[in-house]
Every structure is written in C-alpha cells, then in structure tokens.
Symmetry: C2
Subunit: 198 residues, 2 copies
DNA sequence: TTGACAATAGTACGACCGTTCGTATTATTT
DNA sequence: AAATAATACGAACGGTCGTACTATTGTCAA
C-alpha cells in the first residue's frame, strides 16, 4: 500500500464521518483538509473534483455496509437466518457509532433524489443492489421452504427496507428509546407472517 | 392582507418548492430572490436571518401537510376511516407534484438529525406532532371497537409511519412504478392485522 | 395631498466555496 | 546515487454565501 493510497484511505474515513453528519453537500474540502491537518490542494489532488470525492465516499460507505451488514448475514445458513440476519445487522448498523450521523447512503438518497447526475445514478445503483440482496435472500428462503411459496418477495422487501428506514428516523432524529424494540418487533412480525403455517 | 404579508407568502411558496428539491441548506437567499424577481436584501428583510427563513418554510410546510393530509383524514368518521385516511393521504401527499421534490419535512429531518439547534427542535416537534396524530386516531379506532383492544398503538404508528417513509424512498428516488401498490398493500395489511377478528 | 412608515433596492463586507497553478518535498525506481 | 514520479503545499482565482448598512420607492391613513 503506497503512501498515496494510505492517505486516500484516511481521507475517506474522515470524509465518511463528515458525510454522515453533514451530508454529501455539507462535506467540504476545506474543513475536511483541516481535520486531517493537510492542505486543501493536497487533498483535492487525490480526487480531482468534489464530485469524484463524493462518489468515492459513497463507494467507501457501500463497502462498509457490505462488510457490516451484508457479508455477516450471508455467512449465516441460507434461508430464513440470512433474511433475519440482514435486518438485524441493518438495525445494528443504524445504531453503530462508527458513523456518528447514521447511514450516509440513506442521507444521500434523500439529498439527491431530485438532483440528476452521476451521484444520483450511483446512489440509485447502490439502493437497488441492496434491494436485490434482500429479495434474493428472501427468495432463497422460500425455496428452502422456510417462507411461504406464495410470498410476494418484492412486497416483503419493500416492507422490510421501509422499516429499516423508519427506524433511522425514529432512532436518529427523535431519539426515541423504544425505537429499537419497535423495529425488531416489526421485522420479526414481517418474517413471522411470511412463514409457512404448519 | 397587506402588501408585505402577500409577498411574504409568495416568498414562502417559492421557498417551499426550492426546499423540496434542494433541502433547507440548499435553499439560498440569492437564488430565491432571483426566482421571485426581487433583490436579495428586499427578501432578506422579511425574515431577518436565514434560520428564521428556514423556520418559516418548515411552518408553512407543516400547514400544507395539515391541510392536505391531516384535516381531510380527520374529517372522516372517527375510528378506522380516519386511520386509513391518514395513510392514504400521506401516500398521495408524497406523490403530489405541488412539492416537486417530495416532503420537505422528511428531507429536513435527515438533513438536521445531527445538527442540534432551533431548526432541529422544530423538526422534532413537528414529527412528534404527526406521531401523536397517528397514535390518537389509532387509539380512537380501538375505542370504537374497530381495532383490537390489545393493539400496541405505538408499535402500530411506528410501522405505519415507516411505510410512508419507505414509500418516499421507493417512489422519489428509485422511481419504481410498483411503489404505490406496495405502499397501499402494506398499509392495508397493517390495518387488517390490527382489526378485531370476528 | 401630504406625511409617516412599511417595503424594497442598492451596495458593500468578510467568510468560505471548489478549483487551478507553480513549486517544494518526499518516495520509489533505476 | 541519480533520475523520476508521486505527494503535498501555499497562494490566488472567480463566485456565492449570509448579513449589515443606507438609500430609495411604494402604500395608505389623516
């Protein structure tokens, strides 16, 4: 790992934290450089433009999400444990103090939902990737016989993902201590209703 | 209605549209004045500070939300129709082209969930007001015997509100044409499960 | 119609934005 | 050790930001 790669990684770590609280637009090259004790221009040279910096931050966030949420869940035995793992890890991710201001991708998706361009395209791609992961795991659970054969997996994914979003709102902004219980109850209820009745 | 009040209202209408797409931070006095064909300073004089402008925009948004979502729902017969009305109107509100960029309050709540201050306080208050409205209507539906007596109304509200948020995501960013059907199905399912079994 | 005051415009400010440039320093390769 | 590439720096650019002042215009009752 060269020196450049190392500082680039350090920059992205700090940028991720900053984006998490201030958003991709609030992420500013000057203050980011200050926090890292380096010059604006030196930092800038690593990315070439603010937009490319934003894209790099999003990609780093997606990596972190994959490491924290997706991969551990997919390491579970296939079928229902994976589906449950996805949601449980997602809830934990939302509470993870590593990102002081909550999931940067979720924040960015609202920030950019009306600003077409490469950043929006990237966010849409990331969100649809995640949707596909949930749908895939759910479909697998149906095939395994854990969930009902007539389950509408897209509807299921919509509801599950919505609950994770709602949890962010309730936990991050309203700071309601019951949020976690509500979210877990809701997710477990969603899964229970999708279970095969015996 | 004096001249000042009229222009102030016109400013807020335009500011609301701008906030809806660009967020409360992206809302900028200069371009707002340009779009209204007036000077920065002339506009500025109406509010005294950007923060007060932001607060006024939020209050205007809440009024609009109350007129579009809450009041028509509360005009329904008490009990289940009101609860259903709230969610149906909320879904319609999210699709309403009056706000070109979706609900400004929802956008603001993610924008400000890590920026303490008077604006965050106002957003929290608005969100909790809305939560109280949902909970109140639901509790009423329980009292009327439309919904199960043992229903956890807070859990119910959490799930319903989460679905409305998830719908925004799916409809506004991903532009998935199935979003509306998913959201309606989910809300109706939520209500059906809360119904008294006969 | 005039006088008082509200409403708007004009101008200027300091701060910060993303970006560019030339240059110095440090790593890496030869 | 020399040559070259990779990194980082400081200063400056044109712009835009929110805000402060002052001047001008418009409104409306007496």
């Amino acid at each position: 790992m060269s020196k450049g790669e190392r500082t680039r990684a350090a920059i992205l770590d700090q940028a991720l934290a900053m984006t998490s609280t201030d958003g991709l637009t609030g992420l500013t090259i000057g203050t980011l450089a200050d926090r890292l004790g380096m010059s604006k221009s030196g930092l800038f040279a690593h990315f070439g433009s603010k937009e490319q910096l934003q894209a790099a931050v999003l990609e780093r966030a997606a990596e972190l999400f994959a490491d924290t949420v997706v991969r551990p869940a997919l390491a579970q035995p296939r079928g229902l444990p994976r589906v449950l793992g996805l949601f449980e890890n997602w809830i934990a991710w939302t509470m993870d103090p590593v990102l002081p201001g909550g999931c940067p991708i979720q924040a960015a998706s609202i920030e950019f939902d009306d600003r077409p361009g490469p950043i929006q395209d990237l966010i849409v791609k990331q969100q649809e990737d995640m949707r596909r992961v949930v749908i895939g795991a759910t479909r697998r659970a149906v095939e395994e016989g854990h969930l009902r054969a007539d389950l509408d997996v897209e509807q299921f994914a919509f509801e599950g993902i919505s609950l994770c979003y709602g949890f962010t709102q309730s936990y991050r902004l309203l700071k309601n201590p019951k949020s976690e219980v509500w979210a877990r109850n809701a997710v477990h209820g969603l899964i229970d209703r999708a279970r095969v009745r015996q």
